[in-house]
Amino acid sequence: MSVRIKDLPLEEVVAPGRGGCPGCAAVIGARMVTKIAGQNTIMVNSTGCMCVNYGYAGAPLFPYVHSLFENAGAVASGIDAALKADNRRDDINLIVYAGDGGTVDIGFQALSGAVERGHRFLYICYDNEGYMNTGVQRSGATPYGASTTTSPLGKISKGESRPLSRRKDMVRVMAAHGIPYTATASIAYPLDFMRKVQTALAIDGPTYIHLLSPCSIGWGIDPKDTVKVARMAVQTSFAPLYEITGGRQFKVNLRPVNLKPVQEYLSMQKRFRHLLDDPIELDIIQRAVDENWTYLSNC
């Protein structure tokens, strides 16, 4: 499958008037998703930035439910079953669009159960690496060294202390469920992301896409730089683009010709600024990123 810009519909399914922050990557991502999915879509949002984004004047032009924080997978299961029972299932795109808190942390059980049972739905986690809607608290997706309000910088703390190598790797965790398709994606590579959405929606079964979503407020970046930061995450291989088919078949989608040092990614974000003049910390992060990239390259 492939996506060409000239084939994309001009119509916008996510209508203006949302309550999102300027430069919100989750909204940019939602727009890309709906360019592929169109109005023949039922969307479930777990509690997070996007349910606030949608919940004001600007309504999406497809059926939508804000579930609860931890149950988007279960609510999608019910919708899938009801559509089947009612002979309405065939051509409807059922999509969960949930943040990392609702996915990696509190919603993990419901997601795991839903994919294990084999419901047909696409689960997209927009990962802004923390609880950004409630004021930047750390989550299971927060990277090592990031300063958040619950992993703050202090006299004896350098921000989030859990090593990068032990951050919950949702794509591989989901692939370990043996589901047909999982992938990472980036708003800086829209054609790659939209192809992945298209691929996932064509599959009669559970699929998962993990979308890195830089957050201007939580990450300390200028709203105009959201896409730049997302691109640098890929070009430093801090957040590589890859997909796993059938739970086993890895494919790296983009191999930067010249991998940039991770410092170039970190230095764009205020949440890491305390690490920038600390060569030991930078080395710890660079080595973890290198190890992951080597692992992926050999898969």
Binding site: C51, P63, H66, S67, L68, G78, I79, A82
Partner: protein
């Protein structure tokens, strides 16, 4: 057709006859066999439904409201810890105004651990915006599930309903049950068609969006007023049920109350024991009667006040306790009788964690009510009518003999 069914089987038969389209449930004693029966109905093609064997009770109710919001008839069942785990999502089901029916095989809550019955689990959910019916025997389980769908789906109500029956005493005891045929049921309960907004591609709507302070209260008020108004709908449904099936139910069921000085009121299967005890006590000349509260939400204040009108002393059987206050049913009855001060109302807490409520228990409680009738004052607000003094003396938290 007359069959020999347990309460759990009767509940499953009720869901089958209602031709539910989606069932989501998680195993928990003593509810488990409801789900097993339904799974077997689906496996044998006796019920054309999707079964979702969810990974938790929270997901059971979540999948159910997802399915209900998609516009199909849904069924779910639970008990005890599982129902407690559902708590958060119960508000979603009522807030989204979804006509879900849930069977509850009542069971006490830990700690300490027990698998046996009391009403703490469902009474702890009384403020979630669900209607609650408490039933006494297996026939009533089946019938009430059908009545519940009829009421829940009525556009004047559109609220979810719990049908509660005692774990083991009803869930696992088999009795002859008249199982109606599908045609009769269809006459009472037409095929479900959501005549309100659902997740529908042709008519896209957003659900569970933010309501700011200028709106939120009105949503709650509408839910409350719909619940209050459901009394009329319940009565209509019960009358129609009687017309079609020749079995009659009411929100407050009375027995020998007309001339009674003493009336005992309460919920669930123990009210059958009360009925038998009343027969015995009446033979000794005592003017005693019973009011079984079938509908706890909505609480039928007027009907109950009417039933208790002639009594001088009223005993409430609470198979539950709100620690630091009183039994929960007692509070509701006090609210019912607030304008009739010349009555003595006594709260009995009993039957917790499966302790058997026997005719002896009822006679013991009646003895206390007789003393009150003859003018004695009670020292305690809550009477633990069947207390185990020996255990109580040992089990004092903080003392050295507890270990």
């Amino acid at each position: 057709m007359r069959q020999y069914l347990s309460g759990n089987k009767a509940a499953a038969e009720g869901a089958r006859l209602a031709e539910v389209k989606v069932v989501a449930a998680y195993p928990i004693t003593p509810q488990t066999s409801i789900v097993e029966y339904l799974a077997s109905f689906v496996a044998n093609g006796e019920l054309a439904a999707e079964m979702i064997p969810v990974e938790s009770e929270h997901s059971a109710i979540s999948a159910t409201y997802g399915a209900s919001l998609t516009g199909v008839r849904t069924f779910v069942a639970s008990s005890s810890q599982g129902l407690a785990l559902m708590h958060e999502a119960l508000f979603m089901a009522s807030g989204l105004r979804l006509p879900i029916v849930m069977a509850i095989a009542n069971r006490a809550l830990a700690s300490p651990v027990t698998i046996f019955t009391d009403h703490q689990d469902s009474l702890a959910q009384r403020d979630t915006g669900w209607l609650q019916f408490y039933v006494e025997d297996c026939q009533e389980v089946l019938d009430t599930i059908l009545i519940a769908y009829r009421v829940a789906e009525d556009c004047r109500v559109l609220l979810p309903i719990m049908v509660c029956f005692d774990g083991f005493y009803v869930s696992h005891i088999s009795e002859p049950v008249d199982v109606p045929d599908v045609a009769q049921v269809r006459e009472f309960l037409p095929e479900f068609k959501a005549n309100y907004p659902v997740l529908d591609i042709a008519n896209p709507k957003m659900f569970n969006v933010m309501a700011f302070p200028q709106f939120f209260e009105e949503f709650q008020r509408d839910k409350h007023e719909s619940m209050v108004g459901s009394e009329q709908v319940i009565k209509e449904a019960m009358l129609d049920f009687e017309r079609i099936f020749n079995r009659s139910y009411s929100m407050i069921e009375t027995y020998c109350t007309e001339d009674a000085d003493i009336i005992i009121a309460g919920l669930g299967s123990m009210m059958g024991t009360v009925r038998t005890a009343i027969d015995q006590l009446r033979s000794t000349g005592l003017k005693i009667g019973m009011a079984k509260i079938k509908s706890f939400r909505p609480f039928p204040y007027q009907d109950l006040a009417q039933a208790l009108k002639g009594a001088k002393v009223i005993g409430i059987l609470d198979r539950d306790i709100s620690p630091g206050s009183t039994g929960i049913v007692y509070q509701e009855v006090l609210a019912t009788l607030q304008e009739t001060p010349n009555k003595c109302i006594v709260d009995f807490v009993l039957g917790l964690g499966g302790r058997d409520v026997t005719i002896d228990t009822i006679e013991k409680a009646t003895g206390i009510l007789e003393q009150v009738l003859s003018g004695s004052e009670l020292k305690r607000r809550v009477i633990w009518v069947d207390e185990n003094r020996e255990v109580l003396d040992i089990w004092k938290v903080g003392e050295t003999n507890v270990g």
